[in-house]
């Protein structure tokens, strides 16, 4: 399984990532997920979220999730980009691409990756309030 992980400060360039897609002729599913910052956090209006990562551990924990995916599904390629620093409302903080032979395994692997990430990958967020 090809794997790629970027934890970066720069904005996620979805068009560029999509243009870099590589899939072999036997693959029939490319599933994408973008996690986008909402304009509210609970009852509060916010303008952005500041993300912080324990980078070395985050990379290690993502690698463990990738290993589990490789064992469970015939995924050909997995690409993940997580942004850190300040991410404005309506901008993506997370981008995932899963390429597999069929949609079922591609969706399942994508869902698994995000669920596990939210349990084990040390990244935190701090909502930034909208100035009143």
């Amino acid at each position: 399984m090809k794997r790629s992980l970027l934890i970066i400060q720069a904005p996620i360039d979805e068009a560029s990532l999509l243009a870099q897609r590589e899939m072999s002729n036997g693959m029939g599913a490319a599933v994408y997920f973008a996690g986008v910052v909402r304009d509210s956090e609970g009852p509060s209006a916010i303008s952005a979220i500041e993300y912080e990562a324990f980078q070395q551990m985050a990379e290690y924990q993502f690698a463990k999730i990738f290993d589990q995916i490789e064992k469970r599904w015939p995924v050909e390629s997995l690409r993940v980009v997580h942004r850190i620093g300040v991410v404005e409302v309506n901008e993506p903080s997370l981008w995932v691409e899963v390429i597999a032979p069929h949609r079922g395994e591609a969706f399942a692997a994508c869902q698994f990756l995000i669920d596990e990430m939210k349990k084990t990958v040390p990244i935190w967020k701090r909502p930034l309030q909208r100035p009143s």
């Binding site: 996690g35 993300y51 912080e52 990562a53 324990f54 070395q56 551990m57 985050a58 290690y60 924990q61 997580h82 903080s93 997370l94 995000i114 990430m117 939210k118 349990k119 084990t120 990958v121 040390p122 990244i123 935190w124 967020k125 701090r126």
Partner: protein, 81 residues
């Protein structure tokens, strides 16, 4: 032995520090380390039920026996995505 402790996210606010160093007896566990840290940073103790603990890049339980040079990280539940 000397153990370095790193705090992440709002645990830094609770302790007022990004890092601390504690001296412990040989054979001490993470539970022993936490006892010392809670005495030094009382606001941290309130968070102990939701606290996540890592040594290096691996999650560890409180009965983990520490070794000289271990780097322990303490942080709240993760929130990526």
């Amino acid at each position: 032995m000397r153990i370095t402790v790193n705090f992440y996210s709002y645990f830094r606010d609770l302790t007022g520090a990004a890092e601390a160093t504690e001296t412990l007896k040989a054979g001490a566990t993470i539970a022993d380390l936490l006892k010392q840290l809670f005495a030094r940073f009382p606001k941290l103790e309130v968070m102990q039920n939701s606290m996540l603990i890592a040594v290096g890049v691996e999650y560890q339980r409180r009965d983990y026996k520490l070794k000289e040079g271990d780097i322990v990280s303490l942080f709240p539940p993760v929130q990526g995505g």
